[in-house]
Symmetry: C3
Subunit: 158 residues, 3 copies
């Protein structure tokens, strides 16, 4: 086991939970740890690039895509979302208190060498294609996750 290895499963696309994931991940990576973040289910929306599109989707896959938040800037809050007012207030408070935005944390995560993995099974079920995701994302399944988590010293499901 490697104490300096860490994995986080980002299952949620709630802004607050995604924020917690990135604070822990970038904090650990900044201290020299080897960090892998696995984005699965709703968490996949964090990795969707709002500027990219994908062809050849079925009607149902398109519908799923429309209904889910497209990209890290459009995530709802898990509580007190108030039809989108909550996230605006939260972003305002973060800026005022000099906390990095989620988008900046994502960029920092990539600069720090954090491995970003999108779950292949969820992508398949929800009809999300690789060409819709931001650059620098790997695709992996449960075997990839287990191989990393088995030797990591800290594993969280968020």
């Amino acid at each position: 086991m490697k104490e300096n290895k860490k994995t986080i499963i980002v299952f949620s696309n709630d802004m607050d939970k995604v924020l917690a994931s990135f604070v822990i991940a970038t904090g650990a990576a900044a201290m020299g740890d080897e960090v892998t973040m696995f984005f699965t289910f709703w968490g996949l929306n964090v990795l969707r690039d709002p500027k990219k599109k994908s062809k050849g989707k079925s009607f149902l896959e398109k519908m799923f895509g429309w209904m889910m938040p497209k990209g890290i800037n459009r995530l709802p809050l898990s509580k007190m979302n108030f039809l989108g007012l909550g996230p605006i207030l939260m972003k305002y408070m973060m800026r005022k208190k000099n906390v990095q935005s989620l988008n900046e944390m994502l960029k920092q995560a990539q600069e720090l060498g954090i491995k970003l993995v999108a779950c292949s099974m969820s992508m398949d079920v929800m009809g999300i294609k690789k060409e819709e995701l931001i650059d620098g994302v790997e695709i992996g399944g449960v075997a990839t996750y287990l191989a990393e988590a088995s030797e990591a010293g800290l594993n969280l499901f968020i």
Copy 2:
């Protein structure tokens, strides 16, 4: 510590979170790991057998039972549930993409020797009796969980 030992607390009865739990658990067991799943609170509903009934419940206990999903085939989605339409769509997509159903995963989990433990305290508080649960489930408390988790290499709370 045993790297090949894993525990998952299934707290939620959301179909998507239960699915993530079983994908990780069966994936690990298929690779030879020793896996224990602890079902607590809402997660207990995953283990309820829709064909079984229980006598001697108080009115409040019966009411709790009626309001919660009865069994692994009736779980809601944590997001986009749409009064039950979401889970139907999700099941349809899973079938189309050749992903096992939750019910099949549960059976596979038992065949792979995954230990399924129902939390005794939650059963007591929510008025769920052993005779309502599917066969092959053990009953355990927090001490059981801690004994297993303390020596496991991967512990998740889902």
Copy 3:
């Protein structure tokens, strides 16, 4: 790594999830383990003392404070909350089955020497001040968490 060291991140302020956190934490501490609980985001509300007030808050910070549950006795359920009826029923069932109340568990946690840490970044963003929290709480950031979690044998995110 120390097998007898455990950390729990309490992210949620849902009564059921907070209950699960305290059952695991006090269970482990009663068996002699060294336990740290980190309260972050909504979880901070667990540590708010309803009898304490704070001055010098901005309008937005006050508004956040009003809208969130103030203290461990006022937490909602994550499911079946029914505008506050759910938690009342849950408390009634817990009392009837001789399960400790959340408030008693919190006191027991402090008596057992469980370290309670409030996340400094979330306090800052949500405008929660130290003087509003119950006595005996430490303040810490992500570095504090990572230092403890890296050497702990069990780390959960609830």
